[in-house]
Structure formats: structure tokens, C-alpha cells
């Protein structure tokens, strides 16, 4: 009886995450609603991808001392909330144990890429180390991703990949393509944050994908590799087309977002946006995440190759439409 009960409980616990949710698009959104997710990037070529859309004025100062507010009690990475001497609060995500590649550098890089092409992002930066003060004294502490708790952004919960007015729109599809191109393996709703953003003319809602650190490696369900250039190069991006939809090498959770839903035109749209990021800006984005030129080179090679694949697919798609 005990064994049967245990087996049943384990089976149920293991089965639950495999249940694919149903994609449920609502009525077509207005352009205002689309702007909650994406805005056409103006003057993309002039954008600073080192400091990102929030600029150097909001970046953490490595010379300051940061006071511990509390240790991080959620998620899989260690971290903490700290307050700098100017009163700003930061969420710090540090490197995990076991010598696994840290998420922080990848998260900052991917955030810079998304914000460059028009997707909203919170203010995130990377500090390799910082000075921490807590009840036991002051010491140097390994750094990581610093996300500013900015007064203009209010967290209003999560949004769903499967439901809502944005599902199926071109920016939504394009966002998925960009994440697939970067082998982001964490397409879960818990990483989607709905922000209320206060700007001069009032407030607006932002649909933001954050916690982007599980990328640039292999995709997978149980233990995807991140920040692994060899694994990133090994796993295919696009494996073909079928029934008018693109097939991807993506092996992570929520295949329902990917299978039979993304067209060559979606891929071409995303590739066109990404191709407008100049080499100098890619340098800046990688440097923003703390990557050296040598460390970033193999990732950039793969990204370039994947962009070519996407562009070729888009061109073939357009040719087919022309016929």
C-alpha cells in the first residue's frame, strides 16, 4: 500500500510539468497593446548596448558599498537584495555552486539584445564583484547580475505565453524566434513579468521576459547547458519546415509555443531586426555581460551562422510567396 501510494505520488509529480498548455489567442490587439510588448526600435544603430536602454545613470557604481537587505529565498541561483549608499535597491543574482556557468552575464547580454530591437527590459547590469556590508562587517563579494528596483517600474505579476491579446502577433512570434536563436531554454510564464511603467505622459503596461540567463548553450528539459559555446554550436537552430511552419531544434519545455506555430515570415522578421545590430553593438552587449572578446567570439560565430540560416529561410519564404 505504502509503495503503491509512493509510486502514484511520484508518477503524478513527474507527469505534471509535462502537461502542455493550450495556446489560446484572444482577439487581435490594437497597436497600443502591441507596444506593451514591443516598440519599433528607433535609431537602432545609435543605441548603446553596453549600458542599455536605462543608461549609465542607473548603472550600479562598483565603488559604492552595498548593504545587505536580505538573502534571496527563491529561485535556483544564490543572490540577495542590497541597498547602495544612495538608497537604491538592487536584486543581485550570483553564480551557482558546482562551477556551473553563471546566469548573470548571459541574462544581461540577452536583455541588451532584446531591448536593442524594441522589447521592453528592466534595468539590468553586470558587476563582477562588489563591496558588501552586513551584520558581520564589510567584505568583497562575488558579483553577478544587478537588477535595479526602479521607482518607475511596478511589478504587477506574470503574463502568460499561452493566453492574451499578444499571442500570435508578429512581435510575439518574433520574440520567440529571437529566444530560440539564442537557445533560451526557460520559456516559462514565471519568467514573464507584467510591469506598470510610469513615464512622463502617465503609466503603461509592459510585457517583459526576464530571467534570461538559461541560454547560449543547449536547450533541454532537465539540465540544459547555458553559456556553453560548444553545446550552442552543436544544437541545430532550424531543422526544416513542414506545413508552412518552421521546425526548430529546441528541446526545452513548452514545445506548444514552437511546434507548428512559427512561420518563415516570423523568422525573417526577427532576423531582419537582429541583423540591424552592428558588430560594435554586439561587442557592447557582450561586454555588458562581462564577456571578454575571446570568450564572446565562439558565441558570436554561432549567432552569426544562425542569423544567416534565418535570413536564408526568410528569403526562401518570400520567394515561395512570390511564386
Amino acid at each position: 500500500m505504502f509503495v503503491a501510494f509512493t509510486a502514484a505520488a511520484l508518477t503524478l509529480a513527474l507527469y505534471m510539468p509535462f502537461c502542455a498548455k493550450v495556446i489560446d489567442p484572444a482577439a487581435p490587439p490594437s497597436s497600443d497593446e502591441i507596444r506593451r510588448l514591443w516598440e519599433p526600435p528607433e535609431a537602432l544603430a545609435e543605441r548603446d548596448l553596453f549600458y542599455g536602454p536605462w543608461g549609465p545613470e542607473r548603472a550600479p557604481d562598483p565603488a559604492l558599498t552595498y548593504t545587505l537587505v536580505e538573502r534571496k529565498h527563491t529561485g535556483v541561483n544564490p543572490g540577495m537584495t542590497v541597498r547602495d549608499s544612495l538608497g537604491h535597491e538592487w536584486s543581485v543574482k550570483q553564480a551557482p555552486p558546482e562551477g556551473q556557468p553563471p546566469e548573470g552575464p548571459i541574462e544581461v547580454l540577452v536583455s541588451r539584445v532584446l531591448s536593442a530591437i524594441g522589447y521592453h527590459q528592466p534595468p539590468v547590469y553586470f558587476l563582477r564583484e562588489f563591496t558588501l556590508a552586513d551584520d558581520w562587517g564589510t567584505r568583497r563579494e562575488p558579483g553577478g547580475r544587478f537588477r535595479l528596483k526602479d521607482g518607475s517600474l511596478k511589478d504587477r505579476g506574470t503574463w502568460s505565453w499561452q493566453e492574451g491579446p499578444l499571442v500570435g502577433t508578429r512581435p510575439y512570434q518574433g520574440l520567440l524566434v529571437v529566444l530560440l536563436l539564442l537557445n533560451s531554454s526557460d520559456l516559462k510564464n514565471a519568467n514573464n513579468t507584467l510591469y506598470e511603467h510610469q513615464r512622463a505622459g502617465g503609466t503603461e503596461l509592459w510585457y517583459v521576459v526576464r530571467d534570461l540567463g538559461t541560454a547560449l548553450g543547449s536547450t533541454g528539459r532537465l539540465a540544459p547547458r547555458r553559456g556553453d559555446a560548444a553545446a550552442f554550436a552543436r544544437q541545430p537552430f532550424i531543422t526544416g519546415t513542414a506545413g508552412g511552419f518552421v521546425q526548430f531544434g529546441y528541446r526545452g519545455w513548452h514545445q506548444e509555443l514552437v511546434r507548428g506555430r512559427i512561420t518563415p515570415a516570423d523568422v525573417a522578421w526577427a532576423a531582419d531586426l537582429l541583423s540591424r545590430i552592428a558588430d560594435r553593438q554586439w561587442d557592447e552587449a557582450f561586454r555588458a555581460g562581462g564577456f571578454t572578446a575571446a570568450a564572446s567570439a565562439p558565441f558570436r560565430d554561432v549567432i552569426k551562422r544562425r542569423l544567416n540560416e534565418a535570413a536564408n529561410l526568410g528569403a526562401a519564404g518570400r520567394a515561395n510567396e512570390g511564386q
Binding site: E70, T74, G99, D135, R139, R140, A223, R225
Partner: protein
């Protein structure tokens, strides 16, 4: 009965530990250099990729056991020694007000139907993190606890079993003048433990303790006494990781008093001194560990110690070639020596030797019971979560699988009374 000068022993042990472990350099006024991230210990052999990924997955999903995460967690491997090869359950932990308070509750059931439930609440950061105050209540129902009789001369075939149910409530305080030194004090109420016939799943034909040892003093009374228990302790801990240490040491001394509220003949006090030290060489590929543990019990003239609270020895954390709880008596001493070689990043090969004994008089303690063996350890950077040991001693071979490090002292984190005394 030999009287133990507890205060003197406690004080001298604490002083020795403090002198041995005091930081060599004064605290710097400026920020210290950032700690280098701990290097990954490379084993002698390349590790299969699936193993590395499985451990990565387990660490990411189940945590590293540090207790820093809020939310639900699996309660695995926390059951008492002898509960069966596996146990499982669930727990919920919630940090409140930043890091200032933590609530924790869990329940688990084991292979042999042992059951436990506990809840605790702690103020963690009083006096700028120097003081913690908390309370805990623990219920447990242990089904097949072994008892072979008292004394070092008992025979293996004289095994009996009993079921022990208890409910204990404690309040405790921990004072940490430095990050490595903890002064602890606790007081609790152990409500009449019940001794019953053994029960639970996968039970053998072992006779009940009441049948095999009817002359044990606890069977002369209708109900077991309730106990008020107090403990003071000093712990110095410089280990790098608690469940898979490569360097540093932990030294602990404790004095515990049990007042039987309605039967003074069962009141007693216990002194414990324990130390473990770990040293690594060759880029942490080779680790040498040594542990010693002394527990001594004192009673008034004519008083006795219930057998389930009597120090016991034997099993996977002490004398590994002997059964769990193989020996009971008023005093125990044990020494363990273990060397670990990093075969792979997450797999160690261990060679160990254990020696110890129990005695009715402190002067009669010796290390005559020995065991030797080898084992494999599966671990993350911070914690051992599986081990397979094969040990040999005078009572033959013994193979055991456990989910914790053999020198991981559960006594360090325990706050409720040890019922039964766990070796």
C-alpha cells in the same frame, strides 16, 4: 557513581577550541579581497556527462540543503538512523521580514513506517545576527528501534525491538559572538514517551524488547516519565561545507540535564564532547578526516537511565561494521578516521577505520570494537547525498547505503531531545 566535573570539562574544551580556531589576523578595517570561487575538484577519472548533468539538475531543483529557500521542499533522508533505506516527505519553509524570521514545518515517513513531524519558528537576526531565539515542536513515531541490552558484552543475536513515540517541545537560544563560535542553550518538555511492541512495515521476527529484557527499569513502571530537559553547548565550526567538508573542523561540547518530573529515579545528566577535523591536499583531491566523540552519563545514587535515552553505538555513523544501535551503556567513546579520494568531480572513494566502545564506568571506556571498510560517496560541492559503505568487523561484513556524510553531525542542528539517543 563517578561524578563528572561538567563545568570544568566544558570550559577547558571551549577554551582549547577557541585558541585553536581563533583567526590568525586581526579584522581588516577595509573591505577584504573578494573570495576566489571555490575551484571545482577534478577527480582522477573523467566524469560521465550524464552524472554531472543529473547532479546539476538535482541541485537546481531540490536545492543544496542550505535551508535558504522559501517554499515547499522535499524532506528526504532526515529520518532517524534505522528507519529504513529511504524516507520521504515534504516540508514548507517561509522566511519572513527579510531574513529576520523563519518558519519551517515538515513531515516524513520512512521505508519501515517511521513517522515524524516538526514545526519551528525562529528569530534569526537579533542583536545584529549575534542572537537567534526559537521554538520547535517535534512528534515522532519510530517503529522498530533495536536494543541488544546494556554493556559492551552483548551478543548480536540478542536483538530486540521496540516502538517509541514521543512529543517534545523546546525553546532555544543561540549566541554567536563570531561567525564560527556558537553558544547554545535550550529548555524543553518531553511528554511521556510511550514504549510499545514493534510495528511498521518490513518487520522481521525480532522479539519485543519488553519480552527479551523484562528487567529493564522502564518496564517496571506503567508509564514512562515526562522530562524537563535543558542543554548548554559550545560549538566552534570552521568547516568550509557542513555536509561535504574539505577543510576546517567542528568542535562541540554540551551538557544536558534530564529531570524526570514524577520519577526522580530516572533523572540524569549527560556530557558530550565531540570534534571532527578535515584536511585536504593535492588540489582537494585527497581529504583526511578524523572524528572523536565522547558521551558520558551521570545519575544520582540508585537512579537509572531509560535504555532509550542511554548512549548507543554502532551503525552507519559510528562503528560501521556493527548494527545500528548495537551497543548501549552509560558512556561511549568512538574515533573515526577516514580518507577520501576524489575519483570524479562528484564521486569519492573512501577508506575508513572506526574504533569505540561503551561502558558502565567512564574509566572502563576503551576502543576495543573496531571496523574497517571502503565506500563510495556521491556529493555536490557542498553536500553528500548518497554513500555506499562496506565495512568489516568482528561481527562480519555489513553493507549500508545512506543519504548523508558519515561525519555529518546531526546533533549540531538538533534542538529537541535525542529520543532515542542516535549514534
Amino acid at each position: 557513581m563517578r561524578s563528572i566535573n561538567v563545568a570544568a570539562l566544558t570550559g577547558s574544551f571551549a577554551l582549547a577550541a577557541a585558541l585553536a580556531l581563533a583567526p590568525r589576523a586581526a579584522v581588516a578595517q577595509e573591505a577584504e579581497a573578494p573570495p576566489n570561487p571555490a575551484p571545482v575538484v577534478e577527480g582522477m577519472l573523467p566524469e560521465p556527462h550524464f552524472l554531472t548533468r543529473a547532479i546539476d539538475f538535482a541541485t537546481r531543483t531540490a536545492g543544496d540543503g542550505s535551508g535558504e529557500k522559501s517554499g515547499f521542499y522535499p524532506e528526504i533522508g532526515s529520518m532517524v538512523t534505522g528507519a529504513g533505506w529511504i524516507s520521504g516527505g515534504g516540508g514548507y519553509r517561509q522566511w519572513i521580514g527579510g531574513d529576520r524570521m523563519v518558519f519551517d514545518a515538515s513531515a516524513a515517513m520512512s521505508w519501515r513506517s517511521y513517522k515524524m513531524a516538526h514545526a519551528s519558528f525562529e528569530f534569526t537576526k537579533l542583536l545584529r545576527s549575534r542572537l537567534a531565539l526559537g521554538t520547535e515542536v517535534r512528534w515522532q513515531d519510530y517503529m522498530q528501534n533495536p536494543y541488544f541490552g546494556a554493556g559492551p558484552g552483548t551478543i548480536e543475536t540478542g536483538r530486540s525491538e521496540y516502538r517509541l513515540t514521543s512529543l517534545d517541545t523546546v525553546g532555544y537560544a543561540r549566541l554567536r559572538p563570531t561567525q564560527w563560535l556558537t553558544l547554545g542553550a535550550s529548555g524543553g518538555w518531553l511528554r511521556r514517551p510511550t514504549i510499545d511492541l514493534p510495528a511498521g512495515t518490513f518487520r522481521s521476527d525480532t522479539p519485543a524488547t519488553r519480552e527479551l529484557f523484562p528487567l529493564e527499569s522502564v518496564f517496571a513502571i506503567a508509564e514512562q516519565p515526562s522530562y524537563v530537559h535543558n542543554e548548554v553547548s559550545v560549538t566552534a565550526d570552521t568547516r568550509d561545507h557542513r555536509s561535504h567538508p574539505l577543510s576546517g573542523g567542528v568542535y562541540r561540547t554540551a551538557w544536558t540535564r534530564y529531570w524526570a518530573r514524577d520519577l526522580a529515579a530516572f533523572s540524569f545528566q549527560r556530557f558530550e564532547a565531540e570534534g571532527a577535523h578535515f584536511m585536504s591536499t593535492a588540489n582537494s583531491r585527497f581529504t583526511f578526516a578524523v572524528r572523536g566523540w565522547l558521551a558520558a552519563t551521570d545519575t544520582a545514587e540508585g537512579a537509572s537511565v531509560p535504555f532509550y535515552l542511554m548512549p548507543s553505538l554502532g551503525g552507519s555513523n559510528t562503528l560501521r561494521a556493527y548494527s545500528n544501535y548495537r551497543f548501549h551503556d552509560r558512556h561511549l567513546a568512538v574515533v573515526n578516521v577516514e580518507t577520501r579520494l576524489a575519483l570524479m568531480t562528484h564521486v569519492d572513494l573512501a577508506v575508513f577505520a572506526d574504533a569505540g566502545n561503551v561502558a558502565a564506568r567512564l574509566a572502563d571506556l576503551n576502543l576495543d570494537k573496531t571496523s574497517f571498510g571502503v565506500g563510495l560517496r556521491l556529493h555536490t560541492e557542498k553536500a553528500t547525498f548518497g554513500r555506499l559503505d562496506v565495512a568489516h568487523g568482528k561481527e562480519g561484513w555489513r553493507v549500508m547505503f545512506n543519504t548523508s556524510d558519515p561525519l555529518h553531525l546531526s546533533r549540531l542542528s538538533r534542538r529537541t531531545a535525542a529520543v532515542p539517543f542516535v549514534p
